[in-house]
Symmetry: C2
Subunit: 618 residues, 2 copies
Amino acid sequence: MTTLMRRVQWDHQTMKRFLDGPRADVRARVRGWLEDPVFTRRHDLSLDERREQTLRWCQELVQRGATEMALPRELGGQGDPASMLAAFQELSSFDYSLVIKLGVQIGLFGGSLYNLGSQRHHDRVKRAFRLEEPGCFAMTERDHGSNVRDLATTAVFDPRSDEFVIHTPHEGARKDYIGNAARHGRTATVFAQLEVAGRGHGVHAFIVPLRDESGQLLPGIRIEDCGPKLGLNGVDNGRIWFDQVRVPRENLLDRFAQVSRTGVYKSSIQSASKRFFTMLGTLVMGRVSLTASAVSGARTAVAIAVEYGDKRRQFGPARGEPETTILDYQAHQRRLMPALATCFALDFASRHLIERHLAEDPEVEIMAAGLKSMVSWETMQILQTCRECCGGQGYLWENRFADLKADLDVFTTFEGDNTVLMQLVAKGLLTAYRKQFRLSRVVRTLVKRAGQMLSELNPLVPRTTSEEHLRDAAFLRSIFRARESLLLVSAARRMKKRLDQGQLPTVAFNECQDHMLTLARAYTERIAVEQFLAAVERAPEELRGVLKSLCDLYALNRLYEDRAWFLEHGYFEPAKSKAVRDLVIKLCAEVRPDAVELVRSFGIPARVLGAPIAQAEE
Amino acid sequence: MTTLMRRVQWDHQTMKRFLDGPRADVRARVRGWLEDPVFTRRHDLSLDERREQTLRWCQELVQRGATEMALPRELGGQGDPASMLAAFQELSSFDYSLVIKLGVQIGLFGGSLYNLGSQRHHDRVKRAFRLEEPGCFAMTERDHGSNVRDLATTAVFDPRSDEFVIHTPHEGARKDYIGNAARHGRTATVFAQLEVAGRGHGVHAFIVPLRDESGQLLPGIRIEDCGPKLGLNGVDNGRIWFDQVRVPRENLLDRFAQVSRTGVYKSSIQSASKRFFTMLGTLVMGRVSLTASAVSGARTAVAIAVEYGDKRRQFGPARGEPETTILDYQAHQRRLMPALATCFALDFASRHLIERHLAEDPEVEIMAAGLKSMVSWETMQILQTCRECCGGQGYLWENRFADLKADLDVFTTFEGDNTVLMQLVAKGLLTAYRKQFRLSRVVRTLVKRAGQMLSELNPLVPRTTSEEHLRDAAFLRSIFRARESLLLVSAARRMKKRLDQGQLPTVAFNECQDHMLTLARAYTERIAVEQFLAAVERAPEELRGVLKSLCDLYALNRLYEDRAWFLEHGYFEPAKSKAVRDLVIKLCAEVRPDAVELVRSFGIPARVLGAPIAQAEE
């Protein structure tokens, strides 16, 4: 089984520089911070101790100026979210409770104050970013997680006292699963139904104090601890009830809507629905961050499994002879090499998402929903595969999979349930397809693809099985686009047919739900493949060979996983489908000699990686 | 979305009786035991406290006579392993550390003493089953997990003192991951290379005392704690080093081989290899137990997710109207209903395995390897799906998924790594196919199937898409058999070709590894479908309808998952493949109205199930 190991053709420092990207300096700084012994993971902590440790870690980072990167320029910060995201990625290789607690504090609490509030709230924003005012983002309610529009908490304006009265009308309206609420949060951004002079104006955000300086709950506030969770136990989630809690009028985050002293409601956005989605914009940044953060977990897991697989030996070619390195077995390569290639795909896709987000691309909303879902799902699968590939060793706490699996599990749920988000993606694509005036750039490309679809059906292609053809970038681009376009066109047709028959849109959509989710997956995978191919093109000459191999492995493995669809729709003849399978196996062996250097180029410091089985000494 | 809910056509008590099977009395007794408040799960325990709690639970069960069921008749027990397995299944719905620690004590330690030892060891067997002598099963070494044959621990016979000298020659030979070793084990069955008069006789088992009555380590014994794990933290795993430890000659477990006072080695089994595998027989029982045990975890998870999905509402058909129950969404049904059907499939398959094991069917070795792998893998997927279907609620410790996911994770690894076991299955099938004299029954059916394959290729069938055809038991039986047979025949051909070209068997096998794993999966799924169909036939009239729907859903979902293979090999035309997909979606909706009653028929007591979100009150 011992493959003839060719020497690696590239330098892993060059790869590291390429992967670190424009914010390499920030990444280096954060890696440096994590060398401090204060950042040491422990398993023997009680729930309380774990939460205190996480808070302390957040404070340590704030002291080192970590959060100043994201603080807007006009507030004295560096106003550089890209650096903050790079920092988050590096921190994600160390501990997720830290990342999430910090994310709640500055991304959700601080972010909501800044994005939904006005000048008058800027001091609070600063205090939030500097952790001087620990806060919560109180949106989710027990009975309303995904369906935010129907939140039941009320905020009634009282003109006599010039205050809003925040109230929890029934048990189902309690704020639930709120990060920072159980222990450390002193203030919350609370989302509630605004009512002025007996008229409802939909969901708005209010600043509501929860605890005083000493940490005592304020009158009218009841908080309960959500208790231990599957993972992320360093984050103190809680439930909040409001009993006629009064806050001054200035506590309405009034960037998009204001209430005057005399009780007149005014908003720059006329459509209530448009206003609602504008206010929800805050969530997009959250999804972008989670996407970038999850990638680090996948990388950490693959780094550990590859290092171990390259050292561990079991069974020999013949008795007496030295046993075979398990990463030289076809089955082991077949499990780990696609996972390795996927780490690169997810990273390039998440970088693209960040760029689109910073460029305020209107498509970013569906892109963030889709990629957060794809990345979190792929990551969970990668973690499982890597744990199993490390056998019993992978089951020991010290080797990291325990925390990685537990902490990342909820990434498929929070900031939007993946299945719900993928439907949002499908709806977005359908809307773009119909209303050509919205998201016009997306539409144009989509329509163009619908055209390419036909050329794709060229009778010759489904029979072509040569490696050269299957690894041709043009082929890969067009087949992923063709699948997406065909699914979009057919989804639109199916919906139209049902609506013409007079079905309720919700009913019609439910009956096409499976189709919609398939479309959303095709959309996200098309982006991932396109971005991988783009990364290969912009990479230094020296790296293109190995990156293209990884790209081909990722893309062909995706085609392999969905080959049934391509067979069903005439894109593949059986011979081509089998050729894809054989090529995937071949590519796994092709990438294997580079595997160790590749995971080292992730640049995860040994101390942060931990995992004795992954260490050179071991 | 609200499906018109037809009334359930059957009584869940009838279903419960059917699922409880012949050992219903034992199951009822165990469920009764678990009503005792002593059996209460807690999250706030330190590692030490958790281990002590688990030991106490084991003692409580022994006091109630749980282990007497499995104790052989000639030793005063009931000699009824089937009852013990039923008890294990019920205990598995409560806590897995308890089940595994008890399994190590009586299944591995007690079982090895009884199966590998002789009359003289019977008192020890009794003490083991009664937990009077806490023990370990010390087989695995750091460098040899799967490859047991190359264990490095030595046992040299010293005729002068009439003793065996047990020794750990190097670090890689330390006994690793040994359950009960870190804390409670007083004695161990140690597997070591026997050497008599300078001649090696391969791996044999020896009784080696580890600690004295007071728990102090004995001279020459060094033990280290494996420390915290991803799950099963109630089990105290440890590492053991032996420094020239001397044990009397009687401590050789001498059922299959003896060493005389004068140092003459004698064995009733001539072939060293055959002797080795005979001694490994103990492991089969372990795999049988794990298979049965894992099914309970899958059931528990599905029970919780279905109860919650039937209560939880989110989004409305139209604003203002009551929101829709999430289990009425197609996407939610598509995730949970196949999981529900799979619980039944895994249960029927594991019952079959138990029967074959008790009947000492020679096929049981590969069947246990295959089904343990299939069931543990399916269970992990079901747990993930169920956790996600319960959203954030599923992430709370109190709702069970935290422990279920953590504890069951290692089922894919221990008692044999799944990927290694699946190759063992493929090898077994190939051997049976070649050597027609071994496992003859299997072979005859396999050859018969190879014939049916042809009839399966009847040009009409690949085009037939009617529901009647797709749900026809004869079609389902033959297509699963055909896939297995074709994969077996082609695997045999590929191997022969390579061997004829002079490739080393190990090299040839490695290059066909992907094919071998596909064959093994086809074998296990064929058994699952056959057993499900058999269960439908033997079920009470009243239950056949719903069971057949579940069976069809399971079988067609398996066909759907592997439809690419059937398309590639001409069993499906695209139209048939799409028909399978549409029928799976239809069957999900068909089963949904019965879902709640179905999970209640698992008979998991509310107190054992726990999970507030699954309780009627919630």
